[in-house]
């Protein structure tokens, strides 16, 4: 039979080809990293973050920022090289992070990565990026321990949660809070932020009760009851908006009248949308400034809105800045740019961006500060200003 004969011939050929290509990729992986730059034409900047799953909106905010930067750079004509975009969807989950990172690493054209966006995913993916020598510049992963583990190429472009925790505590103290419930979602980011908030509140003399609400919880009435029964006059939720919204709904349904506060993972218009009214009066803390404050910010907002017909979300400008920093570094290095030299240039460089000026210390930690407090008013997230000014 013809079919059988074809299979007989095709099978060894296919296996042989597979074996050959496997060898091939092994070689090029170690040797000519960033080979795409050889002809001086194109470099790829990748982004790793959640593009699907319950917290996809936070990831899409950043992806849009990355894409906008690449588009502007290519269209400006100011650069000798062109840039392309590649995405790595990790759903924001540690379990998906390694394979998302591997896909990016295996793409020889990738010169640097913006991300991983979430702390849990960053913890898993950062060692792989380190091994491959690819810069992983996260615009948003705020768990303090990420820069304490000596990941060779991980850079954080945002103040970490240690600072955010202290800011939340001083803000609560200013509001006259005497006892608070801190709720995490058992994930890396939420537990990390929860720990620092709990510690800072304790130091401020505020009584703390700690609770955990797993991220896949579907029934929030019990935790709402726990909060109300505790008699606390403030609750701080340190996870992401997808769980914060039903929590806010249940709290208001059961008659909670105290303060509600969410971290940067909650600061997204989707939180307000999903909580349909129950988010009113909630405070949100974020190491990200209000873009309406000055002209650079407004200009960015306009460009973003023109491209995506929606306002920039949390960490859109931070992702844009990170991408622009990579673009500038690659451009300065020109044709000689490879994964290693780009990392050196960024780690020691400085970039005056839309959100802030990006510089890093020797551990890859962002060398700057600034936590801002927002409030949900009439279904809008409104800036109250820098926490240092608020607390005075």
């Amino acid at each position: 039979m013809l079919n059988k004969r074809i299979v007989k011939i095709a099978l060894p050929v296919a296996i042989g080809a597979l074996a050959l290509s496997a060898c091939g990729s092994d070689d090029s992986g170690g040797g000519s990293s960033g080979g795409g730059g050889g002809d001086g034409s194109g470099f790829t900047i990748a982004y790793q973050g959640p593009l699907s799953g319950p917290n996809a909106q936070l990831g899409i905010n950043m992806e849009n920022g990355v894409k906008l930067a690449i588009k502007e750079a290519n269209e400006s004509g100011d650069y000798d090289v062109t840039f392309e975009y590649a995405s790595g969807d990790d759903r924001g989950e540690p379990g998906q992070a390694a394979s998302a990172a591997q896909r990016i690493i295996d793409n020889d054209d990738v010169i640097a990565v913006v991300g991983p966006a979430f702390s849990g995913a960053a913890n898993v993916a950062a060692p792989s990026y380190g091994e491959a020598g690819i810069t992983a510049l996260s615009p948003s992963a705020t768990a303090p321990d990420l820069t304490e583990q000596g990941f060779p190429t991980f850079l954080r472009g945002v103040p970490n949660d240690g600072e955010q925790g202290a800011a939340i505590a001083s803000f609560f103290a200013e509001q006259g809070v005497e006892s608070a419930v801190v709720i995490d979602d058992l994930g890396d980011y939420a537990v990390g932020l929860g720990n620092v908030v709990e510690e800072a509140l304790g130091e401020a003399g505020i009584e703390v009760q700690r609770e955990s609400l797993p991220a896949d919880t579907v029934d929030h009435s019990s935790i709402a009851r726990t909060v109300i029964q505790s008699g606390a006059d403030a609750v701080a939720y340190t996870g992401y908006y997808a769980q914060a919204a039903p929590l806010a709904v249940k709290l208001s349904e059961q008659g909670y009248e105290g303060i509600g506060l969410g971290g940067d993972g909650v600061r997204d218009p989707e939180f307000v949308n999903l909580a349909s009214g129950a988010a009113e009066g909630w405070y949100l803390s974020c190491p990200c400034r209000d873009l309406n404050e000055d002209e650079i910010g407004q200009k960015f907002s306009e460009a973003y809105e023109a491209e995506y017909s929606t306002a920039p979300g949390t960490y859109s400008p931070e992702a844009y800045d990170a991408t622009m920093m990579i673009i500038n570094a690659v451009n300065e290095l020109g044709d000689s740019a490879d994964r290693a030299s780009v990392y050196d240039a960024i780690a020691q460089g400085e970039h005056d961006g839309v959100a802030k000026t990006l510089t890093f210390d020797e551990t890859g930690e962002y060398a700057g500060s600034g936590i801002y407090i927002y409030e949900v008013k009439d279904d809008e997230i409104v800036s109250l200003g820098n926490v240092e000014e608020l607390v005075g």
Binding site: S52, G53, P54, A56, Q57, L186, E211, S212, L213, P214, D216, T217, V218, D219, H220, S221, S222, I223, R225, T226, Q229, A242, A245, P246, V249, K250, E253, Q254, G255, E270, N273, L274, A275, S276, G277
Partner: protein, 307 residues
């Protein structure tokens, strides 16, 4: 734990448990007639939730609905939840299971088909309506309707408890007192003899799916009123409701009700005492314990064949 706390937690558990009970009916009825673990039932529940939310997003224009409007909204949501749930269950049986039944496929094939159908459905919904949660439009002001022993019951809680009781009484009546019910019971006991006695097996099976689907769909909508709807929302409640059906005695309608309520209440007390992270640990420890001593569930497999 004070008496007031106890009562509070009991109410939370009963609300949750009554939803489990309504979903569990769908599992147990289908198991009764086909000995099939219809894992795609959790997706019937999910689709019902989406049906309700989408219908209401279209129909609810007012921000402060009057009392009459509120009732109409709830009715619309339930109707769309039920219709979509029933429709999906109907086609599920027709497309996924009936061809297998015709060819006398082994049990394992049914099980794999059920899991496949579940994956297909939730990914389809995720593709069509996005993978972000969708909020339920506010249909009424969620105030307290009644206070018992110092613990309050909100409109949503009363709505869920009330509709669950009505549905459970109705399904019990249908199974025990109507012609369709005797058909269901006959097929459950012995399909061959039932068909010799003039029962149209295909028709009974199809209607059993639809009956379970209607209830699952309404449960999806009710679930949406207290939370949000999202494409994977069927998974945890579905598995828990399936466990509830087994706990009560799979194939047994009253067993499913009892199992659902038991699991809901145990969950609520577990969370109260040890926190949310222990929720399913407590509930499923009870499941394992009960099955150790009563492998056929609390009430036994009454409707199903014994052999």
């Amino acid at each position: 734990m004070s008496f007031h706390d106890f009562w509070d937690v009991l109410v939370l558990g009963a609300v949750l448990g009554s939803l489990y009970a309504v979903i569990a009916i769908g599992y147990t009825l289908v198991y009764g007639v086909l000995q099939l673990l219809n894992f795609a039932h959790s997706e019937v529940f999910m689709v019902g939730g989406f049906g309700g939310v989408i219908a209401l997003t279209i129909f609810v224009p007012a921000t402060d609905p009057s009392g009459l409007q509120s009732i109409a909204y709830v009715a619309v949501g339930m109707l769309f939840g039920a219709v979509l749930g029933g429709t999906v269950a109907f086609f599920l049986e027709k497309v996924a299971y009936r061809p297998l039944r015709r060819r006398g496929a082994p049990r394992l094939v049914f099980l794999i088909t059920a899991i496949g159908a579940s994956f297909f459905l939730y990914n389809l919904v995720g593709k069509l309506f996005g993978r972000n949660p969708m909020p339920m439009p506010s249909m009424y002001e969620n105030k307290t309707v009644v206070t018992i022993f110092g613990s309050t019951i909100s409109v949503t809680q009363a709505l869920i408890l009330g509709s669950a009781v009505v549905m459970l009484v109705a399904v019990d009546y249908v199974v025990n007192r109507t012609k369709l019910g005797s058909g269901i019971r006959a097929v459950a006991q012995d399909p061959e003899v039932a068909s010799l006695m003039g029962v149209n097996i295909d028709k009974v099976v199809s209607r059993t799916f639809v009956l379970g689907g209607l209830m699952g769909g309404v449960a999806g909508f009710l679930f949406g009123t207290t939370n949000q709807v999202f494409y994977t929302m069927g998974f945890l409640p579905g598995i828990t409701a399936f466990a509830a059906a087994v706990l009560g005695g799979i194939g047994n309608v009253r067993g499913a009700m009892l199992g659902g309520l038991t699991l809901g209440v145990v969950e609520a007390f577990t969370v109260e005492v040890w926190g949310d992270a222990w929720r399913y640990v407590g509930a499923f420890a009870v499941l394992v314990l009960v099955l150790m001593f009563r492998p056929t569930g609390i009430l036994g497999e009454r409707v199903a064949r014994t052999a």
